[in-house]
Amino acid sequence: MIDLILGPLGYDIFVRSLLAVVMVGVACAVIGTYVVLKGLAFIGDAISHAAFPGVVIAYLLGGSYLIGAGIAAVSTALATRYITRRGHLRSDTSIGVLFAGMFALGIFLFSTIRGYVGDLFGFLVGNVLAISPTDLVALVILASGTLVVVAILWKELLYATFDPLGAAASGLKVELLEYLFLGLVALTIVISLQAVGIILVVAMLVTPPAAAQMLTVRFGRLIGLAVAISVASSVIGLYLSFWLDVASGATIVLTQTAAFLVALFLGPRRGMLARRADTHHVQVPE
C-alpha cells in the first residue's frame, strides 16, 4: 500500500505532474467558484476550445503553447463580451459563434500538419505526464499570479457577482472587474490545458465548486471546500491513472464527478434539497 503511494514519487515526471495538478486544482477551484456563481460555465467551455488554434499556431511556429493558448483564450474571452455589447446579442449566442469558429480554425490548422501530431493531441484530451520542467515553472507562476489577484479583489468580485447594480452604483468598477475576471478565467484555463485537455477543462472549473455547493451556503466555506475537493480529486485521479495506466485528464475529471455525485446524494441537509427549500420555500422564523 505504502509502496503504491510512495512508489510513483520516485519518478521525477510523476512529482512534476503531481505539483502541476495540485496548482491547477487550486486555481481552477478558486476561479471556478466565481464562474459557477456568475453562471459562466458555458464561457469556460468556450474559452478552452478557443485556445486550440493558439496551441496549434504555437506548435507550427515552434513557440511556447502557453503563449499561443494564452493569446487565443484571453482575446476570445474579451471578444465575446465586446461582441455581445456591440451586436446586441445574447451572450450565449455570441459565445457560440466565436467558440465554434475558433475551434474550427484550430482543427483546420491541425489538419494541415502532416506527420506526427501526438503532442497536439495531448492538448485535446490532456497529458499531464508530458509536462516539462519549464512548463511547470510557468504554470506555477501563472497560477500563483491568478490566486494573488483573487486574494486582492475577492470582496470586490463577490459584491459585483452578487449584486452588480448595487456594486456599480456604490463605486466599484464592475465593468472593469468583469473583463479582468474573464482574463483570469482564460489564464486559468490555459494553465489547465496540459493537465486535463481542452475538452475536459470546464469540469476542473465547474465540478468541484458544484460539489461544494451541495455542502454549504457560506461563501468562504464554498471556496475552501471547492479547493479541497479539487485538490483531493486531482491527486487521487493522478494516482489512479498511474496505477491503472489510463488517461490522466479523464481520470481526474471522473474522480471529481464521483465527488460531486457523493455530495449530491449524501449531503441532503445542506445539499441540493436544502438549497431548493431555501429558494422556493420561504421560511418565516419566529
Binding site: 447594480l165 456594486a167 456599480a168 457560506r218 464554498l222 431555501d278 429558494t279 420561504v282 421560511q283
Partner: protein, 276 residues
C-alpha cells in the same frame, strides 16, 4: 444658495434628460430637483420609467440628452456616498452569502481593494443590523428569509455604507404591512438626519401617507409635489392613462396590472388619492 438661515443643497438635479435602452426611449425631457434631506416617492405604472430614473441617478445608465448632477458631480463621481438597492426580483436569493455578509458588502467600496473588513466595519454592520431588527438572523443564508426580511437586509446594507443618497427600487413592494411601516419609519429617520431618500413604489397609499413628496412618472414627469397635490385624481389620470377608476370625490383606484403579458393576469387595485 441660502434659504433663510438654512443652506439648501440639491443632492440630485436632472435637466431636460432623455434616456432609454438600446433604441427604445424610456424617459423624455425629465427635469427634477431633489434637495438634501428629502423623502421622495417615484410612482407610475409599469414600464413608466421609474427604475430608469433611479438608474440614471445611480450612474448605471447614461442619459442620451440633458444633464444629471448627483451631489454636484456627474453620476458615479460620488458613488461611495450612494447606496442603490435593486428590485427583489433582480437578486439571486440562492447565492451563498449570509445576512451579515450582505450588509458588510456595503462597507467594501469604502475599504478599497487591499484592506480587509476590520472591527469598525463589523461595528457598522452590527449597528445597521440592529436598526433593521435583523441582528438575530445575521448568520442565515439570505434565501432563508421572508420577503420583508430580505428588504430589511438590503436597507441595512445601504445604512452600513453610510451613504448620503439612498436609491431604492420598490423597497416596500409585496411585503407585510408591519415591515412596510418599519422600513418607512427607518427611511423617514434617515431623511430627518439629512440624508436623501428616493424610492420607487407601486403603492399609492403608501406614497401618499409615508413620503413628503411624490413624483409621478409616465415617460416623463407628469406630477411633482407634496403627496396631496401629486396624487390628485386628475394628475393620476395623466400618469396612469386609462388604467384608472374614479370613485366619489377625489379617490381613485389604479388598475395596476403587474403582469401585462400574462393573459388573465390577476389585476391589482391600489387605492390612492388624498392621504387620510
Amino acid at each position: 444658495m441660502t434659504d433663510g438661515d438654512r443652506p439648501v443643497v440639491s443632492d440630485v438635479v436632472l435637466r431636460e434628460v432623455d434616456a432609454g435602452y438600446g433604441e427604445t426611449l424610456a424617459l423624455e425631457n425629465v427635469t427634477l430637483d431633489v434637495p438634501r434631506g428629502s423623502l421622495v416617492a417615484v410612482v407610475g405604472p409599469n414600464g413608466a420609467g421609474k427604475s430608469t430614473l433611479l438608474k440614471l441617478i445611480a450612474g448605471l445608465l447614461k442619459p442620451w440628452r440633458g444633464e444629471v448632477l448627483v451631489m454636484g458631480g456627474k453620476p458615479g463621481e460620488h458613488a461611495r456616498r450612494v447606496a442603490y438597492v435593486p428590485q427583489a426580483e433582480m437578486v439571486d436569493w440562492a447565492f451563498p452569502v449570509t445576512v451579515s455578509q450582505v450588509v458588510m458588502m456595503g462597507r467594501y467600496p469604502l475599504l478599497g481593494p487591499w484592506r480587509r473588513p476590520g472591527s469598525q466595519d463589523a461595528a457598522e454592520t452590527d449597528q445597521a443590523l440592529e436598526r433593521v431588527g435583523m441582528q438575530e438572523l445575521r448568520n442565515r443564508q439570505i434565501g432563508a428569509l421572508s420577503g420583508g426580511q430580505r428588504r430589511r437586509v438590503f436597507l441595512a446594507r445601504a445604512m452600513a455604507s453610510q451613504a448620503q443618497l439612498f436609491l431604492l427600487d420598490e423597497p416596500v413592494t409585496a411585503i407585510d404591512p408591519a415591515t412596510q411601516d418599519d422600513i418607512m419609519d427607518l427611511l423617514a429617520d434617515e431623511a430627518a438626519a439629512g440624508r436623501t431618500v428616493i424610492a420607487t413604489t407601486h403603492d399609492l397609499a403608501c406614497a401618499a401617507e409615508c413620503f413628503q413628496r411624490v413624483v409621478a412618472v409616465n415617460r416623463t414627469i407628469v406630477a411633482d409635489g407634496p403627496s396631496s397635490i401629486a396624487l390628485d385624481a386628475n394628475v393620476l389620470a395623466r400618469a396612469y392613462g386609462g388604467h384608472l377608476l374614479r370613485l366619489e370625490g377625489d379617490r381613485v383606484l389604479v388598475d395596476d396590472a403587474h403582469h401585462h403579458d400574462e393573459r388573465d393576469a390577476e389585476r391589482h387595485f391600489h387605492e390612492g388619492g388624498h392621504g387620510s
